[in-house]
């Protein structure tokens, strides 16, 4: 081996090392921002850092995490879903009415709504429509259906669902276990299986994937169906916590879910998403938006603006660090 080749070899490995470090940093970023928010909360209100505190602060983050995963699947395919919030609301209304009173019909409706999501994926692919337009339209459809199912707030969650969401495991609060489970299951499915690679590839380089003989129609349908599935899970989890439904209950989730994906290290294009990051991003947003704000004792006139500022700071931190990668 000559000295020159050793030199180039070293250079390549150090470059690879820098890239790996940047990638590691990017992977750790969602965890870091979550840790920061938790430290701030611990400092402001030590009482919150306890089994009881975490159960209370994080249980509403579970439906957000599920909605974020749903949005992540859509974003993985270079699309955006503006209807996930109202869809979660619709699922919530079905859960609090049909699923309790007539479980078979309830299950059929929920499966049917996942089917509608799959069809939307097909429609967007076949007609080459912008997903923003299609899903914005669908958001009104879901909202309208939700009001039809439940014209005024009410209904009641099925008992088994209440039991699941009120589950108190020893030592570790339920929301943390649930978040871990969601993150790991989706991580394995999307990042560690071969079809998961194809799904991400459909966002990364659809042309190459198409030429290699994979059906882009099928990947889009699968991505949207998965989004529908996790939207259903999100709506059910939400109703399990709130115990009863409201047609407007999920409206805020659309933007929270998008922010969660981005905060979790995802990109709007290129099929670059991270399931574990998305779950951490959702938890961070849920904690930053509400507990942190409540514990800070900001005058009421400024609270709304402060909420937005916290979100911008958290998201800006992510942009600053991920820029170092380039």
């Amino acid at each position: 081996m000559t000295a020159a080749s050793v030199d180039t070899g070293l250079k390549a490995s150090s470059e690879r090392g820098a890239l790996a470090r940047a990638r590691l940093l990017r992977g750790l970023l969602p965890a870091l921002s979550l840790a920061l928010v938790l430290i701030a909360i611990a400092w402001l209100n030590p009482r919150a850092i306890s089994y009881f505190g975490f159960s209370l602060m994080l249980n509403l983050a579970i439906p957000i995490a599920l909605a974020t995963i749903a949005q992540m699947f859509v974003i993985a395919g270079n699309e955006l879903d503006l209807s996930i919030g109202t869809f979660v609301g619709f699922v919530g209304c079905v859960t609090a009415t049909w699923l309790k009173d007539a479980p078979l019909i309830g299950v059929a409706i929920l499966l049917g709504s996942i089917g509608v999501y799959a069809l939307l994926g097909a429609l967007i692919h076949l007609r080459n429509l912008p997903s923003i337009v299609v899903t914005l339209g669908m958001s009104f459809v879901w909202q309208g259906l939700a009001i039809l199912v439940l014209p005024k707030p009410g209904g009641k969650a099925p008992d088994w669902l209440l039991a699941i969401m009120a589950f108190k495991p020893p030592l570790v609060p339920f929301p943390i276990i649930a978040a871990l489970l969601i993150g790991l299951v989706v991580h394995f499915g999307l990042m560690r299986t071969s079809y998961g690679v194809i799904l991400r590839g459909s966002g990364g380089n659809p042309a190459a994937l198409g030429r290699a003989g994979w059906s882009l129609l099928k990947t889009k349908i699968v991505l949207f169906a998965l989004a529908g599935l996790f939207g259903v899970l999100s709506g059910m989890a939400l109703i399990g916590i709130t115990t009863s439904a409201d047609a407007n209950i999920g409206n805020g989730y659309t933007l929270l879910a998008i922010a969660g994906v981005i905060l979790g290290g995802g990109e709007f294009v290129g099929g670059r998403v991270s399931p574990i990051g998305a779950v951490l991003g959702a938890l961070t947003l849920a904690l930053a938006a509400s507990p942190l704000l409540t514990f800070m004792h900001i005058p009421p006139d400024w609270q709304v603006a402060a909420n937005g500022t916290i979100l911008i700071i958290v998201l800006a931190a992510r942009v600053l660090i991920s820029r170092r990668e380039r």
Binding site: K152, A245, I249, N251, G252, A289, P291, P300, N307
Partner: protein, 337 residues
């Protein structure tokens, strides 16, 4: 052993304590889900005025206000949970949903916290509800309309925010009123979201397709917008029920000065927030006989007394009334049957 000490301390407390506890160390939080219209602003102002005085006079230890950034139910549920963690003794709440917050409300009750809801009340049995009789208000609108339009005719209904209990109750009252007065017929219904601009747009859109209407039954915050829509379309001005807003009463006064225009105005007084505060204080004071459902009257103005109220309302505001501790005690008494 430890348990024994705690128990004996508790027993000693119970033995020495009188019926009325001291509330000067108690902390009351206000959970509010929306601050973006004149009514809500007046609600927060009334609450602020009354509670600042109460804190200064050492009636309660603290009375903090928390407003969520959006109107969403999950955000407010999370807020209630955080208030539990903060260690408040009572939560006064204007809830985003009557049912969907029950999970969080129950957690608060289980943690020993008194919950008093008003305006947007909650159905969880452990909470207190300061309820304005919205259904009666809707019914009364039609009753009043019958006085101004004895011959009857077509009515246009303006609804509030879809999917809320308030909209539902007022609407039910209006339907009941129309059933009792068959000379009236509702020929159209639009959604005004309790907002003048939204109402104006909605009314302007439906107006060309409507037969002549003699009156408008609405929910407050939408009367002035409806009047503007009729004026812009060059249609004859119907009898519009008002909702205590400054711009509505101002318009009413202008019309009255011009040709003796007659109508009626009613809405829930935003100051009912201060009544809810005093109810919470009374519960913390150790009163055990307070009914969980407290019915309080709405605030109405007639042809004779609205002009006296008008100068008192700030521009863009809504007529209000700040309640005192005595008012709350009287309201509780009136509800104990």
């Amino acid at each position: 052993m430890k348990k024994l000490i705690v128990l004996s301390a508790l027993a000693a407390m119970l033995a020495s304590g009188t019926a009325l506890a001291d509330t000067s160390g108690k902390k009351i939080a206000f959970s509010n889900n929306y601050a973006g219209n004149s009514w809500r602003q007046a609600m927060l102002d009334s609450y602020g005025i009354v509670t600042k005085k109460a804190v200064a006079n050492k009636v309660v230890g603290a009375a903090d206000i928390f407003t969520t950034a959006d109107k969403e139910v999950p955000t407010q549920a999370a807020q209630v949970q955080n208030l539990i963690l903060q260690g408040y003794d009572a939560i006064v709440i204007n809830a985003a949903s009557p049912d969907a917050l029950n999970g969080a409300i129950k957690q608060a009750c289980d943690a020993g916290i008194t919950v008093v809801s008003f305006d947007g009340t909650v159905t969880e049995p452990c909470a207190y509800r300061v309820v304005v009789d919205f259904k009666d208000m809707g019914k009364q609108e039609v009753e009043q309309m019958a006085k101004f339009q004895p011959k009857g005719g077509n009515l246009l209904e303006i609804r509030g925010l879809a999917g809320t209990s308030i909209d539902d109750a007022i609407h039910a009252g209006i339907l009941e009123g129309v059933a009792a007065h068959p000379e009236f017929k509702i020929v159209g219904s639009v959604t005004g979201d309790w907002d003048q601009t939204t109402a104006q747009k909605a009314v302007a859109t439906i107006l060309p397709s409507l037969p002549d209407v003699v009156g408008i039954v609405d929910q407050g915050g939408d009367g002035y917008g409806a009047a503007q829509a009729f004026a812009a379309a060059g249609k004859p001005r119907p009898t519009i029920i008002m909702g205590n807003r400054q711009d509505e009463l101002q318009w009413w006064k202008e019309q009255k000065d011009k040709d003796g225009y007659k109508t009626w105005s009613a809405s829930i007084a935003p100051g009912v927030s201060s009544l809810a505060f005093w109810v919470a204080q009374q519960v913390l004071d150790g009163r055990k006989d307070i009914p969980h459902d407290l019915l309080v009257p709405y605030l109405a103005f007639t042809q004779d007394d609205f002009e006296a109220e008008l100068p008192k309302i700030v521009k863009g505001g809504v007529a209000s009334h700040e309640y005192t501790q005595e008012d709350a005690i009287a309201a509780i008494k009136a509800n104990i049957k």
